[in-house]
């Protein structure tokens, strides 16, 4: 079977699900961030796949590039926040810093 759109989409779907799994189960905030990166990557695979097979053409590439830019900004800010949290609590366990609950 020739490699077509569906192959890529399934890879991206599984990657997405794994990313969600990482986000849900991990306690460490940085691990949550990693799960997020997986999700973003899966979205990017979709963009590029559609740009080849779905006629999205070069615009798909552009969307992917913007996603990458976004990811960079997000990672920077998220890590800064995590650092700040760490300085406040000496801990980045999302269970224990769930003070927003109250």
């Amino acid at each position: 079977m020739a490699i077509g759109l569906n192959h890529y989409l399934i890879v991206s779907a599984i990657l997405f699900a794994l990313g969600i799994f990482g986000i849900i189960t991990r306690k460490n905030a940085i691990m949550v961030l990693m799960g997020l990166e997986l999700v973003l990557n899966s979205a990017n695979i979709n963009f590029i796949a559609f740009s080849k097979f779905g006629g999205l053409n070069i615009e798909g590439h552009l969307a992917a590039i913007f996603v990458i830019i976004l990811a960079a900004a997000e990672a920077a800010v998220a890590l800064a926040i995590i650092l700040n949290i760490y300085q406040n609590w000496r801990n980045i366990n999302v269970d224990e810093i769930a003070k927003m609950k109250e």
Partner: protein
């Protein structure tokens, strides 16, 4: 050198001061001694050489081309590309030299003048960025760049005026300059936005072309007038026109070389330059606004200058007055002379300021020598007798003073006279006699106060010990003075000391053809080459001016266009000729006179009658269509007709000479349409006589009061009473602004506060009272009935909330999980 080379050179000239700025600003602490000044000066020196090369090339090699420009799309908004670029035409070339030369001299001067300054290299860095921004304005060919650099000029002037920011007065002056300028810039910005909104372009040539083809902003001529006036507002701010002139005298708080730079070449010139640059888009009403603004400024500033005692302040008001002249000149349509005055004024005003700097520097040194820190080194009452101690400064100052007064054989005479002639002509044509009257009286006052300054400061006996012990400064300070004073002589601009129109300047800077449609432009300013049919139609409609003159002339001409194989201009042009028209449009727009030189058969026409070259050319070119059509017609045909044609031309010229105003031979050669040119030529001699008279009276008065002491100035002041006080207090402008603008704002806010306190609060209190009464009754109902219900529901909510609360974990992950679950349920439902 090709066009691109020229443009690249221009870019380099632009970037050199920036480079100087960057180098100095990044190495501020590291540069030893005066190397910062030397670096800055040498950068500007290179730029000066390059700009001379550029200007020479533009005016000699590419004299055919109206404008060399480079455009590119900077970015795209929506699908409209924003075009920007740079352009060089004759005006730009001249301005480049003016800016760079004065900047160079000021740099050089400052190396000595500022040598003990603590922020020496920062000062030079700011000078660099100032020059850079001004150059940006000069070589911009679009509103976008111009606005950017416009603001940069404002910023750099702020930095420089506030150079000695430890002084309260300096930092206040800087703020005042900055804020006052912003007011003008607001208008400028709105004007630009109106134009961009209408034409989707920032390029000068595109906008003017579109205006020329009758496309108006919002389809309304009034809007064009408004846009013109708004854009001129920018010039009001920058060029210190009434009523925003108040900042310029205060700007004296900056170092003196900076004042020279601001007053001569950069900041204030920017406004005039901009007005000249966008001149084609001013409608008649806008022009009259401009003319009156200039005239009022010239008058008020001149009256104030008479009574001031601060050396630099007198010069500052004289600058304001002269700027008023320039603006007035532009406003009345004397385009060339207005711009000419900008250039000549740059030389002698720079000279005056640098000379004042030299004097102040020497005074300071002497004061330092005496350990005297109380005597004001800038007050002319403390000077006197400097002629003996500082001869070179004195003679250069005198030279510049003579020039600014408009004495013959000086550059000032050439340009000022042209402007005054223009105002006279203007008044003759449409009856605004107030403008020339103000102009002449201001000329007289100029002579009076300038000589007052020269006499009080330099002549007589030293009034203080300090003044007696001043010494001439070294060559670094004197050299710029001598150079600038030399440039105030007439022969740099025209062979004939009495008539500038023979000089190269008037050849290179031709009056701008006005692109504005006839119904919005004074008839006499319409370009004589106007071949825009809509122009003529509108003229006819609004002013009732038949295009008869033209037709008559054509009739008189032995060769009708048809006879030369050209289509009738009044027939609807066929596609081909329309095309050509568009092609030649650029040339026509920018410089009609040079445009014709491009005609391939030009030489042939002239050759047989070399002696009468100019006349014939003019004559022949009278027919606007010749220009467009000539390349189309077969050369052989034209050739065949030439001798005959030329003969006729000569004949015609003679006729004109007889029937036209008589005193002017050349006038006949001009197109009948351009009445203004004609009139101003006619007014040249009377203007000269009157202005000389005025200046002479001013000088005489000044000499008799201050030199020969026929009258005591103090007593005169007492006698003049209110007038003296009005002048001495600068017409109470600052006070008026304090009362009106600032006080008005305060009053308004007070009123608002009062309204808020009394009315709004009263209403609120009233409603509160009503509410209180009602609530008393409602309260009981509430407590019993409603609360019962509420408590019930609250209990229910609390109970269920306790259960649901477990879901609210505060962990993002849970929320993600819930979201995903929700999405899955949705998917399941909708799939």
């Amino acid at each position: 050198m090709g066009h691109n080379t020229l443009l690249i050179l221009a870019t380099i000239v632009l970037l050199l001061p920036l480079a100087s700025f960057l180098i100095l600003v990044t190495n501020r602490k590291r540069l030893p001694g005066r190397s910062a000044g030397i670096i800055g000066t040498s950068f500007i020196g290179i730029g000066l050489i390059l700009s001379i090369i550029i200007a020479a090339h533009k005016m000699v090699t590419f004299k055919m081309l109206p404008m060399i420009q480079y455009k590119f799309d900077w970015f795209t908004v929506g699908n409209i590309p924003v075009k920007v670029g740079i352009g060089i035409d004759n005006i730009t070339g001249i301005m480049l030299i003016v800016v760079m030369l004065i900047s160079f001299l000021v740099h050089l001067f400052s190396v000595e003048y500022m040598r003990d300054d603590v922020r020496f290299s920062r000062y030079f860095a700011y000078l660099g960025v100032f020059t850079f921004s001004m150059l940006g304005i000069v070589i911009a060919n679009n509103f976008f760049f111009m606005y950017i650099f416009w603001e940069l000029v404002g910023l750099s002037s702020y930095l420089l005026i506030g150079h000695w920011y430890e002084k309260d007065s300096a930092s206040n002056a800087a703020k005042k300059a900055f804020i006052t300028n912003r007011i003008g810039d607001l208008g400028f910005f709105i004007g630009i936005m109106i134009l961009y909104f209408s034409y989707n372009s920032f390029m000068f040539d595109e906008i003017f072309t579109k205006i020329n083809y009758g496309i108006l902003p919002f389809d309304s001529g009034t809007m064009l007038t408004v846009a013109g006036i708004l854009i001129f507002c920018g010039a009001i701010g920058k060029s210190a026109q009434f009523p925003l002139h108040v900042w310029l005298p205060d700007a004296m708080e900056g170092p003196t070389p900076v004042s020279a730079l601001i007053h001569a070449a950069t900041m204030v010139a920017a406004g005039v330059y901009m007005t000249a640059r966008v001149f084609p888009m001013f409608t008649g009403w806008a022009l009259i606004f401009i003319a009156y603004t200039g005239a009022i400024t010239a008058f008020i500033a001149a009256t104030i200058a008479i009574t001031q005692n601060d050396f630099k302040r007198v010069l500052a008001y004289s600058t304001v007055s002269q700027l008023g002249y320039m603006i007035m000149g532009l406003g009345v349509g004397a385009f060339t002379n207005g711009f000419f005055h900008l250039v000549t004024h740059a030389w002698f005003k720079a000279c005056l300021f640098l000379a004042s700097g030299s004097v102040i520097f020497a005074m300071h040194k002497a004061a330092h020598h005496f350990n005297d820190h109380h005597t004001d080194a800038q007050d002319i009452r403390n000077m006197g007798g400097l002629r003996k101690t500082m001869p070179l400064t004195y003679y250069t100052f005198l030279m510049a003073t003579i020039a600014i007064c408009g004495v013959p054989f000086t550059s000032g005479f050439l340009s000022k006279d042209g402007i005054l002639a223009g105002t006279l002509a203007y008044a003759q044509l449409n009856g605004h006699w107030l403008i020339p009257i103000i102009g002449f009286s201001a000329a007289g006052m100029t002579a009076f106060y300038m000589f007052r300054l020269a006499i009080v400061a330099f002549h007589g006996q030293p009034k203080t010990e300090i003044a007696g012990h001043t010494k001439e400064n070294n060559w670094v300070i004197v050299f710029p003075l001598v150079l600038l004073a030399t440039l105030s002589l007439w022969f740099f601009y025209s062979g004939n000391p009495l008539d500038p129109s023979k000089g190269w300047f008037h050849e290179k800077v031709k009056p701008q053809p006005t692109a504005v449609l006839g119904n919005l432009q004074w008839a006499f300013l319409i370009p004589y080459e106007s071949k825009n049919p809509s122009h003529q139609k509108v003229l006819q409609r609004v002013y009732g001016i038949e295009p008869k003159d033209e037709m008559d002339m054509m009739d008189e001409m032995p060769l009708k266009p048809e006879a030369m194989g050209m289509p009738n201009p009044h027939m609807k042009p066929d596609a081909k000729s329309a095309n050509q028209q568009a092609l030649t449009d650029d040339e026509m727009m920018v410089n009609p006179h040079t445009g014709k030189k491009e005609m391939p058969n030009d030489e042939m026409m002239v050759n047989p009658h070399t002696g009468k070259k100019e006349m014939q050319n003019e004559e022949m070119m009278v027919n606007p269509h010749t220009q467009a059509m000539a390349p189309n017609s077969s050369t052989a045909k034209v050739d065949a007709h030439i001798p005959q044609h030329a003969e006729m031309g000569k004949e015609k010229a003679k006729n004109d000479e007889h029937k036209a105003k008589g005193e002017h031979g050349e006038a006949g050669a001009h197109h009948a349409f351009n009445k203004f040119e004609e009139q101003s030529h006619a007014a040249h001699i009377p203007a000269m006589i009157i202005s000389l008279l005025c200046a002479g009276i001013g000088m005489l008065l000044s000499f008799s009061i201050y030199q020969f002491k026929f009258a005591d100035p103090d007593k005169l002041a007492l006698k003049a009473g209110p007038f003296y006080r009005l002048s001495f207090n600068k017409w109470y402008f600052d006070e008026i602004y304090n009362v009106t603008v600032i006080g008005g704002t305060m009053l308004f806010s007070k009123l608002l506060g009062l309204f808020d306190n009394k009315v709004v609060d009263g209403l609120v209190n009233l409603s509160a009272g009503i509410t209180r009464v009602t609530s008393y009754f409602v309260g009981h109902f509430d407590n019993i009935v409603v609360d019962g219900l509420v408590n019930l529901s609250a209990n229910v909510t609390g109970f269920s909330g306790n259960i649901i609360r477990k879901l609210q974990t505060g962990r993002v992950q849970s929320y993600v999980a819930f979201t995903i679950t929700g999405i899955i349920i949705l998917l399941y439902y909708f799939w």
